[in-house]
């Protein structure tokens, strides 16, 4: 392999433009050699914006031999097939979340990586945020006492600058807010609290398969014991936007507005007191996509495993599938006008 990893990026939409491409360009061991998109104009636009002479092509097959690794950042429904094609061609893969829309497809990706001895990383960039490690340490150091539960609310009116608009197609996106922002939250929860053995799920899909709101109750059985928590997701409403983990001795609050800190609140001599925890002294880059890129590069260079590998994605997609399979329709009494009028008249 050359000194620098030759990287191709498949899919030149908003996430590539705003996150993957800048992270790749910043990394000293990475050279972006190809931008691939079925919409060649879109790829050329990005190529010009970075002043690069890299290859621009409509398909991965057009750039084989010119890339050692690839980032897959296409619409969700293409992730699995593009990942398998790249792995079969001997290319390491960092695939945007979700790795696939079904566990069987995600497994096929993992098996393709194993068969070739290649790195398969999944783009769960939030795992590289400071708070992921911070809460882990808080739990391990037993700062909260025995855990009582968690409550995570994450939502705001949607404003993602989508280039292709695939997010509103069930066939292409695989779902709504749960499949989009939800997988980040579920992935972090699985990492902190372990496997989920019971799911109670509600969402507001009226038949399109693209829910905007979801309520989950999850029961974990992991290294911190049995734990039940709730998750609320929204693409339409401003929610509290924080995770609260409650324990017998204290509670930890993780605000969405600043994902580099954890605040621990507890009673101290009868008074409510809080301490804010931040990681200090770290030399790693601050943004999570750059850290994810470094992790991917190191995995390739060391012939190791990525922090978030394909098998973790299988576990995650299995949980998402269970949430969808068991979901009840969220109650929206204000929406059922005939029922409202009937109730009023009786």
């Amino acid at each position: 392999m050359p000194d620098r990893i030759r990287l191709g990026i498949l899919g030149c939409g908003a996430i590539t433009q705003n996150a993957h491409l800048p992270a790749a360009l910043r990394h000293p061991c990475v050279k972006v050699t190809a931008l691939v998109d079925a919409d060649l104009n879109r790829a050329r636009l990005l190529q010009r914006s970075i002043g690069s002479s890299c290859e621009v092509a409509p398909r991965l097959s057009d750039v084989l031999g010119k890339v050692d690794a690839a980032i897959i950042a296409m619409p969700n429904h293409l992730h699995a097939s593009a990942t398998i094609d790249a792995l079969k061609a001997g290319v390491h893969v960092l695939c945007e979340k979700p790795l696939a829309l079904t566990t069987s497809d995600a497994r096929a990706c993992c098996e393709a990586a194993s068969a070739k001895g290649l790195v398969l990383a999944v783009g769960m960039n939030r795992r590289f945020e400071d708070r992921q490690v911070l809460l882990q340490r808080v739990l391990e150091e037993d700062l909260l006492g025995s855990l009582a539960g968690y409550d995570w609310e994450c939502g705001s009116p949607w404003e993602w600058e989508t280039a292709s608009g695939f997010y509103f197609s069930r066939a292409q996106a695989g779902g709504g807010v749960l499949m989009d922002a939800g997988v980040h939250l579920l992935d972090s929860l699985l990492d902190w609290f372990g496997p989920v053995n019971q799911v109670d799920s509600q969402h507001d899909d009226w038949g399109s398969g693209i829910e905007a709101n979801a309520l989950l109750k999850l029961h974990h059985s992991g290294r911190f014991g049995e734990l039940t928590g709730s998750v609320r997701l929204s693409r339409t409403y401003n929610l509290r936007n924080s995770l609260i983990v409650s324990g017998s001795a204290a509670r930890a609050v993780l605000p969405e507005a600043d994902r580099s800190l954890v605040t621990v609140h507890r009673l101290l001599g009868g008074h409510e007191a809080s301490m804010t925890l931040r990681l200090t002294g770290s030399n790693s880059p601050h943004d999570s996509f750059s850290r994810q890129m470094s992790d991917f590069v190191e995995s390739i260079q060391n012939h190791g495993q990525a922090t978030v590998d394909g098998w973790q994605a299988v576990r995650l997609i299995d949980l998402v599938e269970r949430c969808y399979a068991q979901a009840r329709r969220l109650s929206e009494p204000w929406a059922e006008v005939d029922k409202v009028c009937h109730e009023a008249s009786t």
Binding site: G165, G207, A212, V337, A344
Partner: protein
């Protein structure tokens, strides 16, 4: 075949009213609903529904043709900016007429009579006049364009709701925020006419306007049919809060005086010059000069020849009391002063009548205000506003 079985296009579908129309169409069993989507970021609410999202722009006729597809019914709630309101409506009407659609519902507004309508505008037969407000005047122009297409044979109906409230309405979310920030005052004790329309009552009227052949070519006010004041509306939201804020009252005179004092040197000089030039004293002095007397007499006899209403409007304009709205900073020594748009909207006494909608459409408001506001509260709690 029921119209619900036919393809239906909704514009403004990512907005509050259009979004609810899409939901109600789904609840009513419509299966071929097409929604014009201008800004995809605003689509999460309607993306939940089993409908077709059609990217497009009211200012791009080709995109409208594609969005229309084979739709037989068009419900036009799309808006646009300033004159775009008129051009967008005209484009959609042209495309709809070309396709020979069976019904065009134009979502207009009672604000075609201005933010501060005058007494006499209670029924739909009151003539439309220029108000000086861009939104109001463009909505009125859009109505005239619809009228032209009706005369050419397009079966269109105009609906004129006023203060449409309900889940997702900014009237409630904005008012709650303002109450929390102490940026609300009851103008003249809150006795101004609010003309509420619960969004589902409005959707009922839309469906009736599609079904009813007698509706074609007509305009209809659509309200809850109750004389709800701004005081009622504001107090119903105060009741949702804990603790409940105290809302001060402010008189119309205080608002007008406040903005009068803010006009600055040139504006106040202009205002005073106008006052002097229009004063009886000045006219008396002027007519002492023979040439001026002759010119003024000629102008006066011309003025007398035009109809009374135009005379009144012209006089109002000269006196500077037309409903041209100026937005200024709403505070004075920490005291909240409503902006002039709010003052105009909340200080008039016109309750629009819905007799015509009742008689022609068979419209009956199903959700009374008291029930509607409870549903809004339920939604506000779910949506994390309370």
């Amino acid at each position: 075949m029921s119209w619900l079985q036919k393809p239906i296009l909704v514009t403004g579908a990512t907005g509050f009213i259009g979004g609810r129309i899409c939901e109600r169409l789904v609840l009513a069993g419509a299966t071929q609903i097409r929604a014009l989507v201008h800004t995809v970021q605003h689509a999460p609410r309607i993306a939940r529904l089993p409908i077709t999202l059609c990217p497009g722009d009211l200012l791009n006729r080709e995109s409208l043709r594609q969005a229309l597809g084979n739709a037989r019914v068009v419900i036009h709630c799309g808006l646009g900016q300033a004159s775009g309101i008129v051009r967008g409506t005209q484009n959609l009407l042209e495309v709809t007429a070309d396709a020979g659609a069976e019904r065009f519902i134009h979502m207009s507004t009672a604000a075609v009579y201005g933010e501060k309508p005058s007494l006499g505008c209670e029924t739909e037969d009151a003539p439309l006049h220029r108000t000086g407000d861009s939104y109001c005047d463009n909505k009125a122009r859009a109505e005239r364009v619809v009228g032209r297409f009706v005369r050419r044979g397009l079966p269109a109906v105009i609906l004129r709701p006023s203060i449409v409230y309900g889940p997702y309405s900014f009237w409630s979310t904005r008012l709650l925020k303002a109450l929390q920030e102490r940026h609300v005052a009851l103008i003249d004790g809150g006795k101004g006419a609010c003309n509420t329309t619960y969004v589902d009552n409005l959707v009922d009227a839309v469906f009736l306007a599609i079904e009813n052949q007698r509706a074609v070519g007509e305009s209809f006010f659509v309200t809850d049919g109750e004389e709800i004041t701004w005081g009622d509306f504001v107090r119903s939201h105060i009741d949702m809060l804990n603790p409940q804020p105290t809302v001060p009252s402010i008189s119309s005179e205080e608002v007008i005086t406040h903005y009068g004092q803010q006009l600055g040197l040139w504006a106040s000089s202009f205002r005073e010059a106008r006052r002097v030039l229009l004063s009886v004293e000045f006219r008396k002095m002027l007519v002492q000069i023979p040439a001026c007397e002759r010119v003024l007499s000629a102008i006066w006899s011309r003025f007398q020849a035009i109809d009374q209403e135009k005379q009144q409007r012209f006089k109002a304009k000269l006196r500077g009391t037309s409903s041209t709205i100026v937005l200024l900073a709403p505070s004075e020594n920490g005291r909240y002063i409503p902006d002039l748009t709010t003052w105009a909207t909340e200080s008039h006494a016109v309750f629009f009548r819905i007799d015509k909608a009742r008689q022609v459409l068979g419209y009956t408001p199903r959700i009374p205000f008291a029930r509607g506001i409870k549903l809004v509260e339920q939604w506000l709690r779910f949506a994390n506003y309370l």
